[in-house]
């Protein structure tokens, strides 16, 4: 157990260090989501629309699209250097590789969301830093990272990952997207745990099913 945790820590550290050196994921996610939010805020007349309704929709759609573009970058280094086969040859549990990838995607997405939330607060004049919305963000990002880590691994042996991953990723995370938008709207309008509970239940159930499923199916798709 202690050995597994050390291996997981090392793999996570490796992914985060590689990302900190290249910054591919962070830059692509931030730039794309900031651009999307800016374009939407220009395209929509915010003075006549309720920002508590339109803001969450634009915010979470841009995060979803940006995640779909950013996730292939996490696996890009493995693809270029063919290091995934070296990792698979080592006598480590393959689940740890998945856990490290999904945790690194989670950490990096949360970091990007802090910046994206700050921009949304400025553009839409909505209060996003409250406990309910932070919980919504954690649940949504957790789901994105577990599904994204599985689908990203699937694309590692193809040259069309930037094109194929969004086509696979977006239909699968639709329930999470609906959950994030609906629950954020309610949290902004009412700031009430009771009203948000059905949504939070949906988000947690989705993660409880897809996270173990992704761990179980990861090995089937990573070994050639």
């Amino acid at each position: 157990m202690k050995n597994s945790f050390s291996i997981f820590k090392y793999l996570l550290w490796k992914d985060l260090i590689l990302e900190l050196r290249s910054k591919d994921f962070i830059i692509s996610v931030l730039i794309f989501s900031i651009l999307t939010i800016t374009v939407f805020s220009q395209a929509i007349n915010l003075t006549t629309m309720n920002p508590n309704e339109i803001g969450p929709a634009i915010l979470w759609v841009s995060v979803a699209f940006s995640a779909a573009i950013g996730i292939p970058k996490i696996y890009a280094k493995e693809k270029e250097e063919n290091t995934i086969d070296s990792l698979l040859v080592t006598p480590i549990n393959r689940d740890l590789i998945f856990l490290a990838k999904s945790t690194s995607i989670f950490i990096l997405l949360i970091f990007c969301e802090i910046i994206i939330f700050s921009l949304s607060i400025i553009l839409f004049n909505i209060q996003l830093f409250n406990p309910i919305i932070i919980l919504i963000s954690v649940i949504t990002t957790f789901g994105y990272s577990s599904v994204g880590a599985l689908l990203g691994a699937m694309m590692i042996r193809t040259r069309t990952s930037e094109f194929l991953l969004p086509i696979l990723f977006l239909p699968i995370i639709i329930p999470l997207l609906i959950f994030a938008i609906g629950s954020t709207e309610i949290a902004l309008e009412q700031n009430n745990w009771g009203e948000s509970l059905p949504w939070i239940g949906l988000g947690i159930t989705y993660n409880l099913i897809f996270f173990p499923l992704s761990i179980f199916l990861f090995e089937k798709i990573i070994i050639e």
């Binding site: 194929l164 699968i172 199916l217 798709i221």
Partner: protein
């Protein structure tokens, strides 16, 4: 045996066409446009059934590694996407005169549309990924997560609907469909006929894929 099923399907189709256009009376509230439901509902049933069967055949493939199950899965997906397109188009044609809108955010419609995209994603993945056992395993994984995702989409869209009720303003929007004995019988017969045609087409498609696979194997050996 195959010819027998083809003949049976053809016979049932002719009977079905007679029932839909001649025998069943016109529905009181919706009028003639209601007859499109005798195509729409069976296609919806078939496209929903297909994703469940694909998930089952994919699980069997992952366990047994027998390529025939993969051929069945991809044949199901190809027929499934056609029935999903038919379901969406027939639904849209029915909705405009009855609801006054082409589309609403209703849970069933959202689920149907996303199911179509899941089929697209499955087939596009198979098309772009290099052929081999890894492609088959990965496609099986996509089918399994797509099938598990579908009830979540429905439930999420349902909660969304409760918070954002849509207004349909068509002339027949508030009328309940009067599904009496004759209409119900015709609908059930249509479901039976289209399900049989569906399985027949999947069977034929699987046969072609197995023959193609054997041909390619012989070609690579020589």
């Amino acid at each position: 045996m195959r010819k027998f099923f083809i003949l049976i399907s053809a016979l049932l189709t002719f009977i079905n066409i007679y029932l839909i256009f001649q025998w069943v009376p016109t529905e009181i509230n919706q009028g003639a446009i209601q007859r499109i439901l005798y195509l729409h509902v069976p296609l919806a049933w078939v496209s929903m059934l297909t994703i469940i069967i694909i998930a089952i055949t994919s699980i069997i493939y992952l366990i047994t590694k027998n390529i025939i199950w993969d051929h069945i899965s991809v044949s199901l997906a190809e027929v499934g996407i056609v029935s999903a397109i038919g379901m969406l188009l027939s639904g849209i044609i029915w909705a405009k005169p009855v609801w006054g809108v082409w589309w609403t955010g209703e849970a069933k419609l959202t689920t149907a549309l996303i199911l179509f995209f899941i089929y697209c994603a499955y087939l596009m993945f198979r098309n772009y990924f290099p052929p081999g056992p890894l492609r088959e395993r990965s496609a099986a994984v996509i089918a399994i997560i797509g099938a598990i995702d579908t009830p979540f989409i429905y439930y999420a869209a349902q909660i969304w609907e409760q918070n954002h009720p849509t207004i349909v303003i068509g002339p027949l929007a508030t009328q309940e469909s009067n599904l009496g004995g004759d209409l119900a019988l015709t609908l059930l017969f249509s479901i039976l006929t289209i399900t049989l045609i569906f399985f027949l087409v999947v069977f034929q498609q699987t046969r072609f894929k197995i023959l193609e696979f054997k041909f390619n194997q012989i070609k690579t050996k020589t």
